[in-house]
Symmetry: C2
Subunit: 360 residues, 2 copies
Amino acid sequence: MLDEKRVRRVFGEMEERGLTQMMVSDPNAIFWLTGKWIFPGERFLGLLLRLNRPAVLYVNILFQFEEEIGVEKVYFSDTDDIVPLWKNEIDPQQKLGIDKVMPSKFLLMMMENNVAAGYTGGSIAIDLTRQVKDEREQELMRRSSRINDAAMERFVKLVVPGVSEIEIAEQLLPIYKSLGAQKYSFDPIVSFGAHAADPHHMPDGTVLQEGDCVLFDVGCVADNYCSDMTRTFFYKREPSERDRLVYETVLKANRAAEQMLRPGIVLSTVDKTARDIIEAEGFGPYFTHRLGHFIGIEDHEYGDVSLANQSVTRAGNTHSIEPGIYLPGEMGVRIEDLVLITQNGHEVLNSYPKDLEVIG
Amino acid sequence: MLDEKRVRRVFGEMEERGLTQMMVSDPNAIFWLTGKWIFPGERFLGLLLRLNRPAVLYVNILFQFEEEIGVEKVYFSDTDDIVPLWKNEIDPQQKLGIDKVMPSKFLLMMMENNVAAGYTGGSIAIDLTRQVKDEREQELMRRSSRINDAAMERFVKLVVPGVSEIEIAEQLLPIYKSLGAQKYSFDPIVSFGAHAADPHHMPDGTVLQEGDCVLFDVGCVADNYCSDMTRTFFYKREPSERDRLVYETVLKANRAAEQMLRPGIVLSTVDKTARDIIEAEGFGPYFTHRLGHFIGIEDHEYGDVSLANQSVTRAGNTHSIEPGIYLPGEMGVRIEDLVLITQNGHEVLNSYPKDLEVIG
């Protein structure tokens, strides 16, 4: 059902940008606004939001549905001309906000047929609103990360002699499901030893060796909300002095960044705090990505924690804090939590321990 | 490596449409042209094809790669301004063909910065070329369907007393993998009884009952090419007279449509041939979708076998033939093969038997 509170918040962002009408086509945004998932494939899907008139959902008849979701439905078939249906509802005297992911073929059709007075990016009005999770979303984010914590306890037990990365990875989904999640929020990363130096390594047949670092970057979707956590362990042997320094430096960066979080902090300074700690130990060149990304219904949502982002944190933001040090050909460590910005500070949504742990 | 033959065929289609330059952003099309898979997520990805100059690949530095693929690579980072990079290569005096799936945010950026003299849909030049599979693609399509045939033999053995749809569905992927496929080409449909009346039913916890029809609509991806086949069985009991008539009518429609296939046939007449057979038995209102879709690297590619499609078949086309009859609340039957149009006729790519089979 159309969430009137969320719609009103989006309207506020539209008004600030001089927009009176906007075509939303991202299935994630439509779910967030209406509670209804529709995946149209190559077909048109659009929720037309208008400041002073009811919302209209354009949806192919193949995806028709009975339930009322608080919007007028306009159905069309593969052989219908959709242009007159747009013209019935879109105000030709006004600019139309366009969803960033709407396929270009539909934008070109709108332009060729003059359905609006102009076209401009409109997603930002929704993206900025989605960045601030409401109470219900906050609770779902907490729950998804609680499942992820419980799952990590069981994942660690899969690290047994002779196992390969892919053999571990293939056991994770049933564990998530048994804990109440529906699916992965992204393909899990399980990396041994030097593979951990590639932040996006895909699990392969490499077999576990004593002394390996073992990195899990994993997350699930539970009730439509994502979790995402990374922990790095050492297998069977205490790490070398150097590897211990790598681990403790990443952990220090992780904790320092988290501790400074509260509303009103410039996001680039959060990245810089973590980066400075890593640079002070001489590992600066080996921390090769931004500190974090926003997350919610999607694993990567609009907004990041990077040196380039001068926006400030707002209560209700949920994002990752994930510093790492990657030594090519040798090893890598990343420690990642999700955090929620609260009215007075922050909550770390993950509780799986972060102190250096030798397993196996 | 850039496939020069395929590029030349695309150039032919571009020239017919007065296009000298085109930005290709669909990862499937880029793979088909270069052999390289790149999934950019929300980031820009574009292969600029130009009639008289080398191709240029725009790709985020996050996805950089070593190998030479016969194109000039232009890397950019998340903080770079991509507009000057476009302006370096795009001819501002000429129209630019735009990929149908390119996210609107990039098209709006191009327009605001006047990178070309105009913008027009360009994908059709690639879509029409991709419809005609070359020898290598034909062999890969045959192989993917051979795996699908072998898989179906094993899927039928999963239909045992007390099993649910979802329990069967969860066993399919390992079988595909053991036969040499990499993944599903789409989420498998396993429907018992009345669920088979919903052509897009998702497997759930419903338990098998004696007398149920059992519908499998399944396919895999092997070496990047898709298979897609549907078979409908009856469990334990001979079907009623009516259900037998439904089955035999669908089978007759399937065979009649396949038998007429050769180059130069108007696709709508193929749909009509199948539809007429179903209508003649009074089931017309219960055949609720088009007869088929084109397929290749993607499960659904440009083109379909429907009453609305006046294009003619060409040697090298691969598409489905999938008539069905759906009796709401009761049962449904669909029988689907993939076919390849050859110089003189056609090949049916699936060999799993189609005669009515009572299993269990």
